[in-house]
Symmetry: C2
Subunit: 402 residues, 2 copies
Amino acid sequence: MPTPEPRDPSRVARQAQMRDQNLGVVLRGIVDAAEPLSRAQLAASEDLARATVSGLVDHLIEARLVRELDPTQTQRAGRPAVPLAPARGTVAGVGMEVNVDYLGVRALDLAGDVLAEHVELDDLRGADAADVLDRLAALAEPVIEGLRSAGVRVAGTALALPGLVDRVTGPLRVAPNLGWRDVDVVGVVSAHPALHAFPPRVANEANLAARAEAHARRGSPSFAYVSGEVGIGGAIVLDGEIFPGRHGWSGEIGHIVVDAFRGPRASDGSLEALAGQDAMLRAAGLPSTAGLDVLLDALATGDLRATAAVAQAARALGVALASVANVVDVGEVVLGGTFGQLFDHVHDEVSARLDELVIFAPWSPLTVSPARAGQYPAMTGGALAALARVLADPAEWLRSQS
Amino acid sequence: MPTPEPRDPSRVARQAQMRDQNLGVVLRGIVDAAEPLSRAQLAASEDLARATVSGLVDHLIEARLVRELDPTQTQRAGRPAVPLAPARGTVAGVGMEVNVDYLGVRALDLAGDVLAEHVELDDLRGADAADVLDRLAALAEPVIEGLRSAGVRVAGTALALPGLVDRVTGPLRVAPNLGWRDVDVVGVVSAHPALHAFPPRVANEANLAARAEAHARRGSPSFAYVSGEVGIGGAIVLDGEIFPGRHGWSGEIGHIVVDAFRGPRASDGSLEALAGQDAMLRAAGLPSTAGLDVLLDALATGDLRATAAVAQAARALGVALASVANVVDVGEVVLGGTFGQLFDHVHDEVSARLDELVIFAPWSPLTVSPARAGQYPAMTGGALAALARVLADPAEWLRSQS
DNA sequence: AGGATAAATTCATCCGGCAAACTAAATTGA
DNA sequence: TCAATTTAGTTTGCCGGATGAATTTATCCT
């Protein structure tokens, strides 16, 4: 018999999966809701029978993933509804990040509350990868131990890095601005005892930051996210989901070439070469050791070179984002990191380039907005990514816990 | 009560849907198989019980979507398997296309066989939209009538256009190379009696051509497709599915800007402006009325201007495709239309630019290959798109038929 | 011819969602 | 004050569909 290659069986329906799947639907319904829903409201909105929802909710409460709130004082007739909300402090996702200027850890629970957080500022350019990762683990270990001893189940960890990470096999391929190449990140980090049981899911910093941004904007938005740090990263979010590509290598907006004929090498015309932090500082006549604050000060005083430098960068950014919009048909652009801080200085130019170049702009205007996920969004995104495992299939996760 | 907005209930599992869903799984298993599978093989590969598969297959056979082949002469002991194949000539998808140089119709059945086809060559630049669409309908009507009188159920029709089509509301927004704007395509076409029952699903020519290409390459490939006709269109295919974007406006590769500072308007540096057919002919010193054949002849004779023109275009193409790869993480590029015919003259340059510019190229090399979906791929893709409705949910489609 | 082997079908079982009936807890109104 | 009304949540019997074991069918092998 010619053994047929096994197809992805995930799409076949079996009754055993039915309950698991609906458990996830109900849990996500509760977690994603803008305001607490009752069992009856959930049944209506998900189009399930009230009896079915009740059973599933009981299961979720028993598993400490959901809690009942006190009945609200409505002025309506009838038995008051019991509002349901994600449980607090019962499950945690741990997000970690190593970036050029800092490293840190943040733990969130299902309610989105920060349970723990530690950040160390430091210039890590060229630092030894193993040393830095050990420092990170030393930061994360007490956090994880603290959570566990408080009875919080750790759903997993995720680590954001400013570079190219292989989603499948784990190693960091290259992080140019750290000067790292081919680092077995997972191996080093999970060598530490507390992290051994929770090997981090490693991902690109911009992708995780975009996840936090999608979470901060409720309602499954679609947008292109730009994370301007020292380099320029990016991510595509579609219906609230980050678009991973085959290997998790999507969204490398910094490598879009907007000026192919500028230098001998086409990469001389990449967005990062034209609008990266170093390029902007150089064009503004500032030392490349200066931080973004110096540039912002110069802009505030109306410095002409700084203004021109940022305008030029904004043009390149707008052109690159127009290409992204033309290729993936997103209608919103979110500027994070550096570009979030420069938002007022780049918005008009970026917006103008999008209106000019995106073919569908006349029928579906594009919007440009600043990131609103707060500080260190990739750490938040990493924690959310870890929690997403629970939300994606709570039944499976609960089985794996016992 | 604050009425909660209805969430998408498609993900909740109910037993009534279970059978429908598995019917689709089995049908797609049969249609997508490289070689005919038996019930037992299907059960193994889909991880369903043999009893379940048998029941579903019987249903599909009764519905004339699947047929049993004669048992093959294997040299093995045991009862011989009954191979299953998609039925032939029982259901048809009808693909239609209006392009700059031709218009036509093609009908396919579930087996992928061409049941009918008509193409008319004509220069339609600037032609009146209503006239052209009437001609198309006149071409399609006898095809549909013929199918129906032969007992073939028409699953639907699709119409490929070289322009921007709104997926939701139907109208053609703009087709620059035809000179059309805001045409109610569906209205005009389905005014014709035979087409009234089958209003076309309208889509971009490149997107449908890419669908045909994905079908021609079995096994759910991922690639960026470039359709070089008079303009330059494109599409993104991920795991065999064309990536639609929000409105079906994805893949507009021709509008990627690779040279933002070339002219006063950034769009002067778009791929289409630099590597479109007119641009290549002009750069080669040929009249813009010349066809591609003239350019190919010039290349064959080693004409220097032609060679340089194509090299320049290939550089722009490679740079644009590198941006696409960096943003959506696809590992393969397929060149169709004009660029398919120019494949030997552009491959090396495109490949070199991809290797140079795509950040993940060192770890996952990119391949560049010519399209193999045959002539008029968008017509094939349209027919496949119409048939996809049947494959996506055969139970639902069968109910809609009776 | 009889045993071995594999495909396909039959059948009893079980699981889980569903609708309806029922209970619970509030407001309304006479 | 108390019954009627209204809405939330639970209990219960039912039903559809997947399942695995047993059975039937059809071939190969010795």
